[in-house]
Structures are given as C-alpha cells and as structure tokens.
C-alpha cells in the first residue's frame, strides 16, 4: 500500500500554544485531506485541499485552523491557540482522484494540557 507519513507521532502542547502537524502525501496524489478522531469516536472531516487551495472545509475547521503546502511536498495543519478539546488523533490522507479512495497516514496524537 502506498505510504503517507506524518510527523510528529505524538505532540504534547500547553493550552493556548500553536502547533503544526506535518504530512508527506504520496507523490502522485493530488487531493489531500485532514481528519480528526477524538479517542473512541468516529473520524471527522476537517478540510480537503487541491491545487494548492482549500476545496472544502467542515464547520469544525474555523479560523483556529489553517493548511498549507509550503514546498510542494509537505502538507501542514496549523492549529492556533490550542484548547483542551483539540486533543485528538489527527490524520492526513491523500487520494489520486476527487472523492475516491484515500490513503491515510499513521496519525499524530495531539495532547493539549
């Protein structure tokens, strides 16, 4: 299976701090996604990204969040002023076609204290 990588695997931060989660998608994939999964719950869509811009975002993805593809390979999710309820697993995913199968990275576990 093609591999999406994410760093760090675990991030601990204090409430109010900013974090940047990084993803390296599969090289020939054009569609990128960020998801959040609170422990024991379902996977929640945050944002999709295509052609260097956001194509869709959920109501969860408010002004606290932003995404970038700064260098053509890395895909980042920035969370500003973190809150306790932002503690979750964050998954990056990539796909070759719009709305088709997605390959998930291993996730970053974010813990906000």
């Amino acid at each position: 299976e093609p591999e999406v990588t994410q760093t760090p695997s675990h991030q601990v931060t204090q409430m109010g701090q900013e974090v940047i989660l990084r993803c390296v998608p599969i090289s020939n994939h054009l569609y990128f996604y960020w998801y959040r999964q609170i422990l024991g719950q379902k996977v929640e869509f945050l944002v999709s990204f295509y052609n260097n811009e956001i194509s869709e975002k959920s109501e969860i993805f408010d002004d606290q969040f932003s995404v970038e593809r700064p260098d053509g390979s890395n895909f980042t999710l920035k969370i500003r002023s973190t809150k306790l309820e932002d503690s979750a697993m964050y998954f990056c995913a990539a796909g070759e076609q719009d709305r088709y199968e997605q390959y998930f990275g291993p996730g970053t576990r974010l813990t906000v204290t």
Binding site: Y33, Y35, F45, D98, R99, P106
Partner: protein, 112 residues
C-alpha cells in the same frame, strides 16, 4: 446536518460466525467507501461502490450499496481473529464537493 449512522456500535462474535454492519446516510451519497481501523491504527481503505444497487465481494467480505445510495452494508462470512477492528463507511454527499462523512463505526471483536 449530514449524518451517517452505523449499527451495531459493537459486535462480539465467535470465530467462524458471520458479521454484518449496516450504514445509513441522511442524504444521498455520490459513492460509499469502507475502511477498517485496527486498534491503535489508522483507517485503511477496503473498497468503493459507486452504482446504485452495486454488490462487490472481496474473499469473505461482501459489500452492498443501496438502491437509493443512502445505505450500505458489509458482511463478513466466517470471521477470523484478523478481522478484529472498527469498520467505517464513508462517502461524499451527492450535492456537495468533496467533504467526506464517516459513519459512526462498528467495532468488531472476534473471540477465538
């Protein structure tokens, strides 16, 4: 808002028994995808169905997409311990862009 519900939430079966999870969306979907997430792991794509009424098989797994493209099912025949995990359905609504809504998931435990 868009909701995708799955039942049951949990299922314990003896190894060798069959298992079925049902997925119901509040709106029509463009396609339905199924993912498996092992404990502590990430979702792994299993299959995609696009056509109304479509049925696909992968070895012991059978997937169906409803006629109205609002529901789906996954059936596993003769479960094995390797089938343990949470099964999620997911799909984009027909009338929006590429948001993806995941179902609530069914956690399968297989007792050896």
């Amino acid at each position: 808002g868009q909701q995708v519900m799955q039942i049951p939430q949990y299922q314990h079966v003896q190894e060798g028994e069959d298992f079925t999870t049902y997925c119901n969306s509040s709106t029509t979907l463009s396609n339905i995808q199924w993912y498996k997430q092992r404990p502590g792991g990430h979702p792994v794509f299993l299959i995609q169905l696009v056509k109304s009424g479509e049925v696909k098989k992968q070895k012991r797994l059978t997937f169906q997409f409803g006629e109205a493209k609002k529901n789906s099912s996954l059936h596993i025949t003769a479960t094995q311990t390797t089938d343990v995990g949470t099964y999620f359905c997911a799909g984009p609504p027909l009338d929006t862009g590429n948001q993806f809504y995941f179902g609530t998931g069914t956690s399968l435990t297989v007792i050896p």
